[in-house]
Structures are given as structure tokens and as C-alpha cells.
């Protein structure tokens, strides 16, 4: 959301609808949320009607993000007074403990919620987040795998697991996770491109080339894919002969031209152009033109 839009907000009503959009779109503008809260909404919270409980929760989470514990306490107290036995409020309590790094207390609360409702995905995910926050990576991976056995079709969890494996340099397993993501969202060019990145790193240039091409087909503006294509084809060119080799050099040239075009489009200065050309040369890919 651009700042010009925020400047238009003049009263609690605008602020409320702005928060609603953020809530619906899962946008995490924590700092801005807190600003809106303290300037416009807090003085006239009761005018929001039943929506105010959702706003309390949203502001509470934003306050935790910004480590503003006084606002967080206020929101939590209001929610607690209204919904004394709600699991959702209990979860928020535990999240407050997480924020002050009292993980044991947080985990106790989560476990008590799970006793009643063993398949509450939000709470299971919070437990995982506790492990990650304490940097217990091995346990984290193990628990995440357990979680995925339950929720085989949860794409966020697969994405998270993929990131963890990548940070551990376990490329084969990360590739598996990305394959799951591709199954769920076959038209997302970023997933295709990331899969190609991993395959490139593993040295499977043929596969990498295919998936870079596919991601370019889905989004011709993906510059990272263009670079990826450039590198894979450069690697393949030397190792293959005959027709395929010729095709690869054609693709290589094409990627090169596309990249050149992109840099010209943004009208980059000469220095950048030169450094890009230097880089191409360094990679022994092609000759600089300018």
C-alpha cells in the first residue's frame, strides 16, 4: 500500500476500512497498523461495532511484531474480557509469551489447546514456530515432517520445509518440496523458477533449462529465469554436440538479447551496463556489444 493512500485517511471510518483490507489480504503492515490504531481507532473503538474484536486481534499481532507490549496487553485484556474461554484468545496469550521469549509457557498453553482440538492447524503451526525461534533446526525439521504427514496438502508448510532444506543445503529434499508446490500451483512462475534454480545447483541442466523456459512462458518478465536460462544453456552448450548444441546456443543468444532489451528498457546508466557486460564476459558467455 502506497503512502499516498495512507495520507488520505482522515477518520476512524477510513482507518477501519483500511485495516479490513489488510486483514482480508493477509498484509502484514504492522507499523502502519499501530499508527492507525493509536491516531484514529483507539479513541473511537466502540463505533466499529462487532468488528472491533477482529481489530483488537489484528492490532495485537501487529503490536507483537513491533514489540509494543503495552498496546498488546490492552488488546488482550479487552479480548479476554469478552471471550473468556475462547481457544483463539488462549492462542494469543501464548503468542504474547512467545514474544517475550518464554517458550515453555507458550508451549504449555498450546498443548492444552491441542488436548481439546488435536487438529487445530494454527496452534500446530505456532508450536513449530516456537521450535524455529529457538533455532532447534533438527527438531524443527522432524516436527514439520510430522505436521506434513497430517496436512499433506498444506502448501505453506511445504514452502517452509523447502526453505529449511535449502538452508541446510539438502537440495534433493528441497526439490521434492518444490515439486509438491508445483503440483498445487502449476501456473506460479516463481515456483517453477525456484525448482529450476535447485535443479541447476544439482547440475541437472536439462531439467533446469526446461523449467526456466516454462517459467518464462508463464511470465516473460522474470529476469532471474532469463539469467538462469543463460547459465544453463552456457553450461549445456559446451557439453553437447549436434542439433541440441545448436538449439542451446540459439536459446543462449535469445536470453542474452532479452536481457539486453530489459536493461535498455529501464534506461540504466553506463556503469551498470558495463558491469553487466563484464559479468557476461567473466562467465565466458558471450561478447559484449557496447
Amino acid at each position: 500500500m502506497s503512502t499516498t493512500n495512507l495520507e488520505k485517511i482522515k477518520n476512524w471510518n477510513d482507518a477501519g476500512s483500511q485495516l479490513r483490507t489488510w486483514r482480508d489480504d493477509n498484509v502484514r503492515m504492522s507499523k502502519e497498523t499501530l499508527d492507525l490504531w493509536s491516531t484514529y481507532i483507539a479513541p473511537s473503538i466502540n463505533r466499529l461495532g462487532d468488528e472491533k474484536w477482529l481489530v483488537y486481534e489484528q492490532v495485537f499481532l501487529a503490536a507483537l511484531d513491533c514489540q509494543n507490549l503495552t498496546i498488546a496487553e490492552d488488546c488482550l485484556a479487552a479480548l479476554k474480557a469478552q471471550f473468556s474461554s475462547s481457544k483463539r484468545v488462549k492462542k494469543l496469550f501464548a503468542m504474547k509469551y512467545e514474544a517475550i521469549e518464554d517458550y515453555q509457557k507458550a508451549l504449555d498453553i498450546y498443548d492444552s489447546i491441542l488436548e481439546e482440538d488435536e487438529t487445530n492447524a494454527h496452534v500446530l503451526k505456532r508450536k513449530l514456530a516456537c521450535l524455529k525461534a529457538q533455532n532447534r533446526i533438527n527438531e524443527y525439521v522432524k516436527e514439520l515432517n510430522e505436521y506434513l504427514k497430517l496436512f499433506q496438502a498444506d502448501h505453506e508448510a511445504w514452502l517452509e520445509l523447502c526453505d529449511v532444506y535449502l538452508s541446510e543445503m539438502d537440495f534433493a529434499k528441497a526439490a521434492f518440496c518444490l515439486e509438491e508446490l508445483i503440483l498445487m500451483y502449476p501456473h506460479n512462475h516463481v515456483y517453477q523458477q525456484r525448482y529450476a534454480d535447485i535443479k541447476y545447483t544439482q547440475g541437472q541442466y536439462d531439467l533446469a533449462k526446461t523449467y526456466y523456459l516454462y517459467s518464462l512462458k508463464l511470465n516473460p518478465k522474470n529476469v532471474r529465469s532469463l539469467y538462469g536460462l543463460l547459465l544453463t544453456t552456457a553450461n549445456l552448450k559446451s557439453s553437447q554436440k549436434s542439433k541440441e548444441g545448436a538449439d542451446n546456443s540459439k536459446l543462449n543468444l535469445w536470453a542474452r538479447e532479452e536481457l539486453d532489451k530489459k536493461y535498455k528498457e529501464v534506461d540504466s546508466d553506463r556503469n551498470l551496463m558495463n558491469s553487466v557486460n563484464d559479468m557476461f564476459q567473466y562467465l565466458a558467455i558471450g561478447k559484449a556489444e557496447k
Binding site: 502449476p186 501456473h187 516454462y214 512462458k217 508463464l218
Partner: protein
């Protein structure tokens, strides 16, 4: 938001469903409105049906003109714009037509 390529066809299922929902929405509104109109002006028999088909075809043309060149981005075939909802709309039309005809035309009551 759909993407159409020469060979690979990448379609977002939820987008298709949403587009169809909107099309349905237009059709229902048009059916209800034209049904009310037909009832109030007291069309009977074939003229009433003719009126419905003219209205809904007119709506399809307006949609086509409104989408202009981007039409193929939103709907796979132009034909579906015209035909896919015309029968489901007829039910609504008949209801409103009969209702307002019964309410307004005193000669039968």
C-alpha cells in the same frame, strides 16, 4: 485473470469460476429487470419470450463491447457469453414476468 498461450493453456480455476459467477450475476439481474418490465407493460405470449431473448442477447453484446479486445483473457469462447446462462435466466424471467403481470394487469383479475 487467465493466461492464454499458443500451445500451453494456463487457466486459473478459481478465476474461471469467479468470471462465471459474475456472468451469472449479470444474467440474473437482466432477467429480473426485463421480467419486471415485460410484466408492467403487459407483454403476452410470444412477444414476452422474444423480449427476453432480445434483452439477454443485448446484454451479451454490451459485455462483448465492454471487454473489447481483452475478451479472450476472461472467457474462453465468445459463444459461452451468449448461451451459457440464457436458460437458467429464463426461469427467473418467467417468475418475474408472471408476478408483475399478475400484479399490474387488472384485466385478468
Amino acid at each position: 485473470m487467465m493466461m492464454k498461450n499458443d500451445q500451453l493453456l494456463a487457466l486459473s480455476e478459481s478465476a474461471i469460476r469467479y468470471n462465471h459467477f459474475l456472468l451469472d450475476y449479470c444474467q440474473t439481474s437482466i432477467s429480473a429487470l426485463s421480467g419486471c418490465t415485460a410484466g408492467i407493460i403487459g407483454l403476452t405470449g410470444l412477444y414476452g419470450f422474444l423480449f427476453y431473448f432480445i434483452c439477454s442477447i443485448l446484454m451479451s453484446f454490451v459485455l462483448v463491447a465492454f471487454l473489447g479486445k481483452n475478451k479472450s483473457d476472461y472467457f474462453l469462447s465468445t459463444q459461452s457469453l451468449f448461451t451459457s446462462t440464457i436458460w437458467s435466466g429464463l426461469q427467473t424471467y418467467l417468475l418475474f414476468w408472471t408476478f408483475l403481470y399478475g400484479m399490474c394487469i387488472d384485466s385478468i383479475i
